[in-house]
Symmetry: D2
Subunit: 429 residues, 4 copies
């Protein structure tokens, strides 16, 4: 049965690859996941049942959500289904309670694509093999198509073995991981409140031969993503320069000062203003400027240090020019640490797994992931959480128009999840 599930995951991944949708607009994706799950024995939850609306961050503009809804309707998603997801309440939570005493195991898979135009050059496998994105402005350029499919294969495995398994299974298909926007809204709804074992993971990341797994990841960086708007007052720059309140000056001041936040004794920190735009005509004092900022830290505390410094600097930069500034949170990830217990769990679970050539204790993620909210919550409640990595050689890096994954990594992941679920069963151990 494993091979069937592996093949299912690979095939399904290619289907999802053709219909990538950016965070909080995964209408087609949610529908297709729902369709594939509804013949199984899981209770399925969608829409506002799965997330606290107000805890979502970095929502798309209403017109972007609307356009995605239109696209989903044209694709064939029933209107009633789309309406349940209205306002960007995408994603699915699937729960199966065996009724038998046993652990509560939660699995989490992120489902969103990226606003990247996929390569249409020869040599890019999805193009060559006919499963390139059908959406002109979006692409599964991070591998979440694979994650969805692995999650569906795991669901099929649990369903097929529901009479033998014990405890409870919660599978979370999370929207809007990119930008660190969706996870916390699901946590706040209580879905991981009483979880004994929490597993998630990523394919790719470390460019190693597929067929291996890291039992845990480290360097899961805390991060805060926010937009800053400066509002000043325009004036004719030639006639009355003293009458303006220059929003571009404030933004430029903030940008330079943000780069100069002191390094921290306790470890690595980062800040970047990735985009800045402001002003209008050449001879008009700019009355508005917007910048996109992200901070990071090796730990939640270090990221918090960066953010607090940034906040003060932004306010002072606005005060410097007697103008207003406004910060909008767009996403956030915590610094988090996998429980070391997983090293033995995964190693032992996979010791007879022929698809796994190597089990690494740990590999670095070197990035932020909002799964950290879930892991943090599980750990605070006494559960064990890990974030595994399933390496793959990569023709191009994550978020690149030519990103692609060695599908062998998908097969490996399916086998690892199944083995670990199996291993965690008390009746077996």
């Amino acid at each position: 049965m494993l091979q069937e599930l592996q093949q299912f995951a690979v095939d399904t991944r290619r289907k999802f690859h053709t219909v990538p949708e950016a965070g909080f607009t995964e209408f087609i994706t949610t529908f297709e996941i729902y369709q594939l799950l509804q013949n199984l024995s899981f209770h399925l939850y969608i829409g506002k049942e799965i997330m606290d609306s107000d805890e979502r961050m970095g929502l798309p503009k209403p017109e972007e959500i609307e356009a995605s809804k239109e696209r989903a309707l044209a694709y064939g998603v029933p209107e009633a289904f789309v309406e349940k997801l209205d306002g960007g309440h995408t994603g699915v939570v699937a729960v199966l309670d065996t009724g038998r005493k046993g652990p509560h195991i939660a699995l989490r898979y992120d489902i969103d694509g990226l606003p990247i135009i996929e390569s249409d050059e020869e040599g890019h496998a999805p193009f060559d093999e006919g499963f390139r994105s059908k959406h002109s402005q979006e692409m599964h350029a991070c591998g979440h198509d694979g994650h969805i499919s692995i999650g569906l294969a795991a669901a099929k495995y649990i369903d097929a073995n529901k009479e033998k398994l014990t405890g409870k299974f919660t599978i979370i298909f999370q929207p809007a991981e990119e930008g660190l926007r969706g996870a916390n809204s699901i946590v706040q709804k209580g879905w991981v409140d009483k979880v004994d074992y929490f597993m998630s993971g990523h394919i790719g990341i470390n460019a190693l031969q597929a067929g291996s797994v890291a039992a845990t990841a480290n360097q899961i960086l805390a991060s805060t993503k926010f937009d800053v708007t400066f509002k000043g007052k325009s004036a004719h720059a030639g006639v009355e320069p003293n009458e303006g309140k220059n929003a571009l000056n404030a933004a430029a001041t903030a940008l330079l000062q943000l780069n100069a936040i002191p390094r921290h004794r306790d470890g690595a920190t980062r800040i970047n203003v990735g985009h800045l735009s402001g002003g209008s005509g050449r001879n008009v004092i700019a009355d508005e400027a917007v910048m996109l900022v992200g901070t990071r830290g090796e730990t939640t505390e270090l990221n918090q240090y960066m953010y607090q410094e940034a906040e003060r600097i932004i306010q002072a930069s606005a005060a410097m020019y007697d103008i207003e500034s406004n910060i909008s949170f767009m996403g956030q990830g915590l610094g988090t640490v996998c429980d070391a217990a997983w090293i033995d769990i995964v190693k032992e679970a996979c010791q007879n797994n022929s698809d796994v050539k190597e089990v690494y204790d740990v590999l670095p993620l070197k990035a932020s992931e909002d799964v950290s909210y879930m892991m943090d919550h599980v750990q605070k409640n006494g559960g064990l959480a890990t974030y595994m990595i399933f390496p793959s050689l990569l023709p191009a890096g994550h978020h690149h128009p030519q990103f692609d994954i060695d599908e062998e990594a998908i097969r490996t992941a399916v086998s690892v999840y199944i083995d670990v679920i199996h291993y965690l069963q008390p009746t077996i151990n």
Copy 2:
């Protein structure tokens, strides 16, 4: 006959008001001017005959020119005519040589509109009275529609009196005054090489009751308009911040430093960065930034001081981050001074003009005008040049979506040009 010409000018202004075209895309405008002139006795010149292509500044993007051509063809401008103006060679020069000994009088009228969306609110006369712009993105928001019409009325007067007048008349319908982009290309083609009397002017500007004229303007500021592009190198801001070369940092540095160019002993100076935009994703070090800059000075020397300081600052800001900077000239105006002789000329010419309630010696322009290139050239060759102002109360300032002119100012201007042309005739004085 004066009243007829005045009424003609007002009516014609309303027609031109409906088809505004931004600088170097005045295909319809040029065609309509040409049509109205072609039954008169002027020799008409268009296309590359009237301007030195390479001396134009701030050309629109090819696709903008192309879109305007398409619009002109749809409007009914013959394809052959449009082709003569290809590449943005818009405008008309009309010459009438009486064959009789007398002065060479040149008149200059600017013809371009602005990329402003005209108001469609009640109370805005062009909307209420049905001559609002038909072009969704452009508007005659500075009064150049009136200038065209005044120029055409002057042409009709000269033509009607060609048997009595002496000397030579050159009427320049100049494209792309906005942004100070078109005048010098016409000067360089020699059209004002041997001019005895040069007149141009503006309606509005000073919000005074219509029915007056300023014989001369002062505070015609020198100005240089340029775009700056910074090119750096992107890198992942989290993973390897040291690998980037941050173009936004360079731009922000330049912006702040440009504002700090020292004031100058010799008089007023100005600088403004009206627009800045750069970078891409939040977590990517920005590899490009563009800013729109303008300098001004009370004199050409003061403006030159500002520009030279700016140039050094921009280069140093790029060097600060080890990146490249590039400056593109987008427009330039000289500091210029009207010949005081015009005060008596206009006063005496208009002493019996019942449309003119007051002749001011001088009113301030407080802005830049590329007519300065023409005036400067005429003066260097021994001619007399002036820039008159025909005030009007203004419901909203120049370049505003609700800008409008009291058409009385157009009538006044027609009468003044005619009277002065008449007065300058040697046989009459």
Copy 3:
């Protein structure tokens, strides 16, 4: 008698030239003035009688005052006299009331030297002719030694003619003009409350042949002088850079931003940070920085604009680094305008003055002078005030170690003051 007074002024100037004392430390100077006045019929006032202590600005450090007192004692000034001036209450006000009905005429002369080391090179007349400063660190490098002497000559003239003159005469020998520190404290004590005619002036300034006078000066700039202290928190820059609050960063930020205060529509403005110093060891985050700032404006309002912008920028720069800033006022001058009536007064008064080859209506001062407080006060109370200029060719500019004056300008000034005093007598006109 005029020639005698002129010669007295020249001789006396040379004496004062040898003992320059900086503002509020003019112990010797005050004593010598007092000595020369005490045989005349003026009532003499010194110490706290002449100034409101709290209105003085930019006082020297106590140890500097103390050192100057010691020097004065060593010079021979009686201890009792020095004590009356304790705390820097230097200067003399001399009042002579004729008892006869007539105008109240006030004359003001500034008496302080500068902390400049006088040239000891040949060709510098005070050196060559043996009246170079005996004080190693101070010099009369602005001509106030001449002003004292002119004022003493005027006093002698008034005293000699006290039986013929009418009204009241107040002669103010003001300390601490340099830095704009002393005048307002005298105004606040009421000495110019009821003045009909107020005269002051400066020798030199305009490098024109001596023997002329400007009846009025213009371009008397408003100015505010202040020191800024930033206080942060030191930390080891290597071990815990995040623990510091960097005062030098705040100062540098303020400095650059101050230079970028927008130019003002209404006229010329200036700002300068002339000195900045902060920090301690190379590897310690700076916990303190101090900077010396001056603003100027063509008018009091323009200066006020500059100061208010500066104040906000300084506070925001401190807030940027979470530190404290403190502003200490060190001196202030108003923008002021001489009453035009003086043009006729001086011209008519001097029409038979053979020492005056030319009377200019007005010459520019292009600097700040705290006499503006006095002029402003007199004018607000209905009096007429002027600031005259007595040009001189200058081997080196004011405040230069080789500054010197053509003593002919002193002679001219003596004659002008006498003639104007004479002219202002009602019985004579």
Copy 4:
């Protein structure tokens, strides 16, 4: 004998504590070391014999050296001796060759004090117990007095056992460690060319109970210390602000930009501008500014990255204002790593040492030390080098006016050096 040497070291430390001398002015210190060594069997080298003059960095001003020489003469150092050290050639190298085959062991002790005024408050042991600094401006605030004494005790031990020991011993009493100025000049003279075992170390550093030793230190940071001078052009800030070239502006720009050098992927970096001073009078555009800068990096490469960025930024900041900049190197330390072999060496050597309660494998230095030049040189030539730490509880941090050491750490250090020397003897092992 050990206890005698330990007591000698403690007593001697107190004597040296009273006569601290800053780097390259250790005339008294050198003399006293020399005196204490000259009855032993070492060959002693001083003056230009021990260092390459040109490789020294951060020399004091000539007048500072001169004043220290005067002080030494007054103290009783013979003039001939002082003259040998002229120009700041302080320090001693002592060599004892046993003539027997065996390893070349080098020991290095730094000898300089700091320009810190020592506390005279009760509770500060050196004050309470009468060995506070007799030099009003200098203090042994880092423990080098202890280092000297430990080195002298080691010398006494070697001398006493010279008949039993094998190989060669070089003891370096190095001047000017503070500021990282002296070590390289000694390396360049060849003293550590052929060393088998190199040991140095520091007392204090880690605030742990005295009586322990770290066999090695890590986090010995690379560092570059340099001064920057900006030279511009002064001008009257009111009259002609455009004529100045503002050195303070350039310095402030550099300061802020230096703080914004991007963090580096490969590890921790630091930069600090500890002091900035520039300009003169409030109303004069500053023509000169000086700043003191230090960079650091976890590795020599990271420090190099920081320095290279800094260099470009400084040049660009000068170019921004069209002025000159000049960088003077003041000190440099390499990033260095102790040979791990020392962990076993020290542990085994001390296993019977009752003064040593614990041997740490490694403790962090978290600072720079120019011993790194020596260690690097020894290692490149195949020798083994370590830098040990002898912890002590500290009433106040290093470089603090109340810094003091638990003298137990000195006793511990003496015992460790002796044990390790003993252990390294081939005949013994």
